[in-house]
Amino acid sequence: MSSEQPRTQIYDSTAPSTDTRDSRIGEGADDRFNSKLREAFGSTPFILTKFDKFMNWVRGNSMFMLQFGIACCSIEMMHTYAIKHDLDRFGAGVPRASPRQADVMIVPGTIVSKFGPRMKRVYDQMPEPKFVVGMGSCTISGGPFQEGYNVVKGAEEIIPIDIHVPGCPPRPEALVYGIAKLQERIRNGESTPVVVKPYELEEFGDLPQDELVQKLADDIDEEDLVMRYNWADSP
């Protein structure tokens, strides 16, 4: 068949063409060099798919995590990255120190009032599309510290979270499962809708005037960013 003519249909066998391979590494070579995917495609080197679908597949399989240690859970998170559990096996285990290079943020620990605005800032610095895994009970509800005067009742108060992994702390296996589930969602093109959050960073001047704002007016610049915690409204 001449390659000058466009081929309209396959009329020979659809078995994978192994001529090139056989000539390189000898006949009857181990099949492991050819993936199942390659076999399914047959001899054609092209895949027809939707671009979005392809991108989602790629995204799910090459996730860069933010190297972000907060509290107890970060110890188990380190174990998940390290020997034995080795998150990298699932295409999701390269910790990046800078939020600008990361796709996924694992929030491993309790969020307190002082850290809330900082975490929001780190999250905002990550490029889109971005995903968040909340690790441990503290990121769900404040966990064992829920009644604390300084503890934000769950990381979802501040940033949207895709996957919650419960536990105090969750075992590395649980975190791996959570991340596998996140990958599944990303492959399916799902993400968490951003809902309006009670705690947002705002300019101080934009806050409604009340006793607290007036009291702090001398100390804080109008344009400074602040986060206002209305503890009474917290769950």
Binding site: G69, I70, E76, P169, M227, Y229
Partner: protein, 553 residues
């Protein structure tokens, strides 16, 4: 830095209570004896005077803790003093102030460590310290309203937290045509800060001019949580989360020891041996992580030593999981013993532990080859981050940090508890005072811990079957007598972990104060790193081995 102690003239180690009473004399308004120590009530303007006398005349050179609390009619600051030479010698100095005007004299000129302590007392309880060099909040944000551990604090009140740029604190001093300083924020999200520490650093070229650790990014109200829990069961889970680097059992022991002494509970000998073994396993795991992350800090070595450290921790965690049922947050100790006996079949557990201990020397050799024997590592760590013993004492440093500065202070030996007294082991000290010595101390402590565990395993193996009592009889509801006060401490992985408790007649503590070793060790960071290069600052921070959960509590 001068400590006021004249060299050559050593104050006496043993001081009797009568001698103390004579030393304080008329300045003592009353006596307020605690279970652990004689207490003297003094006037708020006598603080420096009395503390100086106690330090110089009676040799109380260690301000272990400062507890602040509010009663219905007064505020109280309690200075818990003890001696590095003999920590069983203790004295409490109680300073009451009125509710209307809670002002007390600062102790900062006498003990440098009072600086951070008094900031914390101001922050959480609301006592002002007159003459304090830096009266700011320390754990809560600057804009916080109210003092959360004072009476009548409204937790529902809204709060505002700012996200402003931090200003260069020394710029006016250094800014001219010739030189310029650069302000650098390290953290709160930074790989080298071991969590959420924020270090405000001012650099002149590559030299560190000013360092100010800004903590409180993980202040999750541990003291409030413990004050809301009942003695018997509800407090024990929290200590696991102070120093969360697998040092759980060591922390639980701090609470168990304090509460047992407060409520006068006996612990069966068998349970003490199990506790000792479990605690030392935890110490190994904690030191392994310290080593692994330190290698990560000074080399950026994620692939070899960090992973090796993690590999060895996994083995320890497996053993601890068999023993306690959890990998990290054990909740295994109970008042009066431990939760349950060793896992069945016991032989398997012993064999697993022995296997680990047998393999340990080879692993330690490997670490020595890779790390301490490595030339690059030695260049990074030798003679950097110098912490002189006198300075370390001023800052209340304990644990491997103090022992790396040649201070021979280990509560397992000096203030014995558990089964340590009956076992053969040594306290490790190094005289280098630098980052290298602190690493060496930790590595050798791993070996000492292994010795202890081995002896415990031998003991447990031969323990007669009908004497295996894991818990003594403890009443379901514990209500220690009202106004009993106690301060007790244990040697945790990072140093002296102490707890002050006051009972108020109910089944929950009236005041629960945690004395965290990391808090003190971290406060010495400016002494170690100012005038050095930035990389040495990171190395010093790594060798201090702080855990933010314990610094901020």
């Amino acid at each position: 830095m001068s400590t006021g102690l004249e060299r050559g003239q050593q104050p006496p180690v043993d001081v009797t209570e009568d001698e103390l009473a004579a030393l304080i004399g008329d300045r003592a308004l009353a006596r307020d004896d605690h279970l652990n120590a004689p207490g003297f009530v003094i006037r708020p303007d006598d603080v420096q005077d009395v503390l100086t006398d106690l330090r110089d005349e009676a040799g109380f050179d260690h301000l272990a803790n400062l507890t602040a609390q509010e009663y219905a009619d007064r505020y109280e600051s309690i200075y818990h003093l003890r001696k590095y030479a003999d920590p069983t010698q203790e004295v409490s100095v109680v300073v009451p102030t009125t509710t209307d005007e809670p002002v007390s004299q600062t102790a900062e000129p006498v003990f440098r460590t009072a600086d951070w302590h008094e900031r914390e007392a101001f922050d959480l309880v609301g006592i002002d310290y007159e003459g304090h060099p830096d009266p700011r909040r320390i754990l809560l944000p600057e804009t916080w309203q109210g003092h959360p551990l004072s009476r009548g604090y409204d937790q529902e009140k809204p709060q505002l937290v700012t996200l402003t740029e931090h200003a260069n604190p020394v710029q006016p001093d250094h800014h001219d045509d010739e030189s310029d300083t650069m302000f650098l924020n390290i953290g709160p999200h930074h790989p080298a800060t071991h969590g959420v520490l924020h270090i405000e650093t001012v650099l002149d070229g590559e030299t560190v001019v000013d360092v100010d650790p800004d903590i409180g990014y993980l202040h999750r109200c541990e003291e409030q949580m413990c004050q809301q829990g009942t003695y018997r069961h509800q407090i024990m889970p929290y200590p696991d989360r102070w120093d969360y680097v697998s040092a759980g059992l060591l922390n639980e022991w701090a609470y168990a020891r304090t509460a047992e002494d407060l409520a006068d509970i006996e612990v069966p000998e068998y349970a003490q041996v199990i506790r000792t073994m479990g605690a030392e396993l935890c110490r190994i795991a904690a030191h392994m992580l310290a080593l692994a992350t330190f290698a990560l800090d000074v080399y950026g070595d994620f692939t070899a030593i960090f992973q090796y450290g993690m590999r060895d921790r996994e083995v320890v965690q497996d053993i601890l999981e068999d023993l306690t049922g959890q990998r990290l947050m054990f909740n295994y100790f109970r008042l009066g013993g431990v939760a349950w006996d060793l896992p069945e079949p016991r032989e398997e557990f012993f064999e697993k532990t022995r296997d680990f201990l047998d393999g340990l020397p080879a692993k330690v050799d490997e670490y020595n080859d890779l790390l301490t024997g490595n030339e690059i590592f030695q260049i990074r760590c030798h003679d950097t981050g110098i912490l002189e013993p006198e300075v370390a004492k001023q800052y209340g440093c304990t644990g491997p940090v103090a022992r790396g500065s040649g201070i021979d202070y280990d509560l397992r030996r000096d203030d014995p508890y558990g089964y340590y007294d009956n076992l053969e082991w040594d306290v490790v000290t190094e005289d280098g005072c630098d980052n290298y010595s602190r690493v060496l101390v930790r590595m050798q402590e791993v070996e000492e811990s292994a010795k202890i565990i081995e002896q415990c395993v031998d003991l447990l193996e031969d323990w007669p079957e009908d004497e295996r009592t894991v818990q003594s009889n403890v009443p379901r509801t514990l209500k220690p007598d009202a106004d009993t006060e106690i301060y007790r401490s244990v040697e945790a992985a990072k140093g002296e972990l102490g707890i002050y408790m006051r009972s108020d007649g109910t089944d929950k503590p009236g005041r629960f104060k945690i004395r965290s070793p990391c808090f003190h060790n971290l406060s010495a960071l400016p002494e170690m790193s100012e005038g050095e290069y930035v990389p040495d600052l990171i190395a010093s921070l790594g060798s201090l081995d702080i855990v933010l959960g314990e610094v901020d509590r």
